[in-house]
Structure formats: structure tokens, C-alpha cells
């Protein structure tokens, strides 16, 4: 087994499994966030956030999610570092745009952008809700349900640059997903002539829904506050 995990395909196997796991997290996260759009009183989103913070299943999944992130980032670094050594003398002229997509060639850079965004995002909300607390959370607490809605919307309404950061993070994530959905299945061996076309279409839909969805929420909150 150790030999398998040290082989090139073994490392990529873990990369794609952890990636697909993180994708399921993104989908759940987007569904919960979309409650912000559907209920401007914030009660629906607060209930959902409270449920996620207190549900025992989520408490078990949370460390698994952290492991997923760590595995994905760890193997991304290992694989990329090796790939940087495989062409000691580079080409003078290279036209890669003809044969591959930009996002497929820049997965590591896109990943770095997403990771930077993730750190900002965790510091903005997750850290405050989970550990340090915030006075906005204590506003109008009903039955012990914290006012996460107020924390989130205040953040977006107060600072334009936060909104822009979230939009950039969403776009980078979308480009990352555009290549990765089919790529993950290809690495797992689940692709052929027919499924390649289906999976690239699914990848397009998934990346537009996720990037569009996550970008829409801060924009919506900010713009509707200005009307």
C-alpha cells in the first residue's frame, strides 16, 4: 500500500479523492449560504448556521474535512514540486494555448488563490463564530441561535474590498473546478469517449453554479443594501 501511495498514480488518486470530497462540501456550503438570498430577515440562514454548528454529524465530519484540505494541499505541493524538475532546460517558444486550457495548466496557482481566499474567509466568519465570538453575533439572539446573518451581511455592506475579494475567490474557484471535475474522474479511471463529454459538461455547469453562486451572495447583499 505504501508503494502504491508513493507511485505517481497513487498520489494523484489521493488528490482526486480529496478533491471530490471537498467538492461535496462546497455544494452543501453553497446550499446553506443561498438561504441568505431567500430570507432577508436572516432567520432561515441563522437556523441553518446554528444547525451546522451544533449537529453531532457535522462535528464528526469537520475534522475529516480538515484532513481533506490538508491532503489535497499536501499532495498538490508534492506533485507540483516534482513536475517543476522534469524539464531542466525550458523551451524558447511554447504555444500551449493551442492544445490545453489555461485553467488546466494553472491549477496550482488557482489553488493558491483559493487557499489565500480561504484563510481570509475563515478569519472573517468561521473563526469568530467558532472561537472568538463577535458582538454582532449576540444581536437579537433567539433560543440560543446566534445572529450569523448580521455578522455576514454587515461585513459585506461595510467594505467593498471584502465583496471584491469574495468575487475574485469565487472566480478562481470556478476556474479550478472547471478543469478538476473531469480530471478527478479521469484519474480514478472513470472516463471514456462518452463520459469525457458528459463530465466536461457537468464540470462546466458545476463551476458556473458554484462560482456564480458564491459570487452572487456578497454582491446581492451589498447591492440590495444600497437600493
Amino acid at each position: 500500500m505504501l508503494k502504491f501511495l508513493n507511485s505517481s498514480i497513487g498520489k494523484k488518486f489521493l488528490m482526486s479523492l480529496s478533491g471530490l470530497f471537498l467538492l461535496t462540501f462546497l455544494l452543501v456550503h453553497l446550499i446553506l449560504n443561498s438561504f441568505i438570498l431567500f430570507d432577508s430577515s436572516g432567520a432561515l440562514f441563522n437556523q441553518a448556521a446554528h444547525f451546522m454548528a451544533t449537529n453531532p454529524i457535522i462535528k464528526v465530519v469537520e475534522p475529516v474535512l480538515a484532513i481533506g484540505f490538508i491532503l489535497h494541499i499536501f499532495y498538490a505541493i508534492i506533485l507540483t514540486l516534482h513536475n517543476l524538475t522534469t524539464r531542466p532546460v525550458g523551451y524558447d517558444k511554447q504555444k500551449l494555448g493551442h492544445s490545453s486550457s489555461w485553467s488546466s495548466r494553472n491549477m496550482f496557482i488557482l489553488g493558491l488563490v483559493v487557499l489565500t481566499f480561504l484563510v481570509i474567509h475563515v478569519a472573517n466568519f468561521f473563526w469568530k463564530i467558532k472561537f472568538t465570538g463577535d458582538e454582532l453575533l449576540e444581536h437579537g439572539v433567539v433560543d440560543g441561535v446566534e445572529n450569523a446573518y448580521l455578522l455576514v451581511t454587515t461585513f459585506f455592506i461595510d467594505w467593498w474590498w471584502i465583496v471584491i475579494t469574495y468575487v475574485i475567490g469565487s472566480i478562481a474557484l470556478g476556474l479550478h473546478l472547471f478543469h478538476s471535475v473531469w480530471s478527478a474522474f479521469q484519474t480514478l479511471g472513470f472516463s471514456n469517449q462518452l463520459w469525457r463529454r458528459r463530465l466536461t459538461l457537468i464540470a462546466l455547469v458545476v463551476s458556473i453554479v458554484i462560482a456564480g453562486g458564491f459570487a452572487l451572495i456578497p454582491l446581492w447583499v451589498k447591492i440590495s443594501s444600497m437600493l
Partner: protein, 252 residues
């Protein structure tokens, strides 16, 4: 056609190479790319004014019919130059314009060290093949052609994989210098047929281990290899190789 050529010159594997610029005149648009380099070499040999540049440009070629896989060359940023599904010998000068500057480089990869000028050592592919790209069978009289019936679709797919000529364009064009398309086609052509099927697990294991050992990069599924492959070998074969390899390890 009058052209400016920017050619990679390198004395030997250890020497530090550099680009050299050459002017070449009166090239027919109907000549092949290799014929154009032949003309350049003739010019270099017969040029008495510049004794330093007399050495002709070394480049690989053999059949010049697009089937042997011997020619290489990274031309103007693309493996086998600016045309689809062809080898360099099948590239014609009509793909260029009069007055163009053409950049000609050898394959660049850790696994393919430069021997001289534009020639690279592709023994790494032979080593991968020797590690498992065969079937173990008793030799003797040739068996009857139709003794083992094989479905049309399987035979076609195996033949598609077997059309790999081992030129190395996949490695040369891959941003990671990965040899996955080559290994995949060699695994597929055997794994799809009954003669090769029962050793497929062992084969995938051995060939991947050898590929990793020889310093090729990891496949990131960019798909550039498939586009630049002169035989148009599909990425589907890489998916099959991944399946074979995962089955070899997770279901031994």
C-alpha cells in the same frame, strides 16, 4: 520562400547549447520540413566564408513517411510543428509564410537528454517497454489468424492504441513532461486483447514503476498530449491505464 531559422545547437550531451540564426533562401513551399533542413545543412557544408558554422545540424529522421516515429523537433512552440496529427517529416513548408522566423528546438524533458543539436535520447521509452510492454507466450509456429475471435470494437480500440509510434511528442508537449499517453497506449493495446489481458495487472504495475523511476512528470490531465500526438491517441487510454493500475493495487 526566404526564411530565418533559429536553431538550437549543442555540441554534445554535456555541452551548454545555444540558439544560432541562419538565413535560407529559395525554399519550395512544397518541400517537407526535413527537406528544408537538408537544404540548410547543404548550405552550411558548402559555405566557405564562415568556417565556424560548417558543422551541419544534427536531427533525427528515418522513414520520412510519418510511420517510424524517429523524427521529432519542437517547431515554433509546438511538437511536430503547426499542423494536426502529423509527424515533422509530413509537415510541409506551405504551412509557413515567406519571410517567417522559425524556432526549431529539440524535445525538452528530463527523460530525453539532448545527444547533439536537435537529437534527443529516447531510450527511456525502450526501457519502459522492456519493463512490461510485451506478452509472455511460447514461440513456435504462427497461430491461426482467427483462432481467437475478437470483437470488432475491441480490435479497433486496440489498433488505435497500437498506432503509437513512440516519437515522444506527448512528453515534449506536456507541461509536466509526463509519459502517460505513451505508457497508456502501450498498456491499452495489450490489455484490450485476450493475449495480453491476463498479464495486464503486472504490466501496469511494472511500466508505471519504470516511468516514475526515469524522471517523467505526473499527468495533470491537461490533454495537450492528445492534441499534439501525430497519431491522435485518445486520453481514454490514460483512463484505462489508471483503471488497470488502481485495480492492480486496490484489488490485488
Amino acid at each position: 520562400m526566404d526564411l530565418t531559422l533559429k536553431v538550437w545547437r549543442q555540441e554534445n550531451a554535456k555541452a551548454k547549447g545555444k540558439f544560432e540564426k541562419y538565413q535560407i533562401k529559395n525554399i519550395s513551399p512544397d518541400s517537407s520540413f526535413l527537406e528544408m533542413i537538408d537544404a540548410l545543412n547543404e548550405q552550411l557544408i558548402q559555405d566557405d566564408k564562415d568556417p565556424v558554422a560548417k558543422e551541419p545540424v544534427a536531427f533525427d529522421h528515418d522513414c520520412r513517411e510519418g510511420i517510424c516515429g524517429m523524427c521529432s523537433l519542437y517547431i515554433n512552440g509546438r511538437a511536430h510543428g503547426p499542423d494536426e496529427e502529423i509527424t515533422t517529416c509530413q509537415l510541409h513548408m506551405r504551412k509557413f509564410k515567406d519571410g517567417d522566423t522559425i524556432v526549431i528546438e529539440p524535445w525538452r524533458a528530463n527523460g530525453f537528454p539532448v545527444i547533439k543539436d536537435l537529437m534527443v535520447d529516447r531510450q527511456a521509452f525502450d526501457k519502459i517497454l522492456q519493463s512490461g510492454g510485451f506478452i509472455s507466450a511460447n514461440t513456435g509456429n504462427a497461430p491461426d489468424a482467427n483462432a481467437i475471435p475478437i470483437g470488432k470494437d475491441k480490435a479497433e480500440e486496440a489498433m488505435d492504441a497500437a498506432s503509437c509510434i513512440g516519437c515522444g511528442a506527448c512528453v515534449a508537449t506536456c507541461k509536466n513532461s509526463s509519459a502517460m499517453l505513451f505508457v497508456a497506449s502501450k498498456v491499452s493495446q495489450l490489455a484490450l486483447l485476450p493475449q495480453g489481458k491476463h498479464e495486464s495487472v503486472k504490466r501496469a504495475h511494472a511500466m508505471i514503476a519504470k516511468m516514475d523511476e526515469l524522471g517523467f512528470g505526473h499527468c495533470t490531465n491537461t490533454g495537450a498530449c492528445e492534441v499534439e500526438c501525430p497519431k491522435g491517441i485518445s486520453l481514454d487510454h490514460i483512463a484505462r491505464l489508471n483503471r488497470e493500475f488502481l485495480a492492480a493495487n486496490l484489488m490485488p
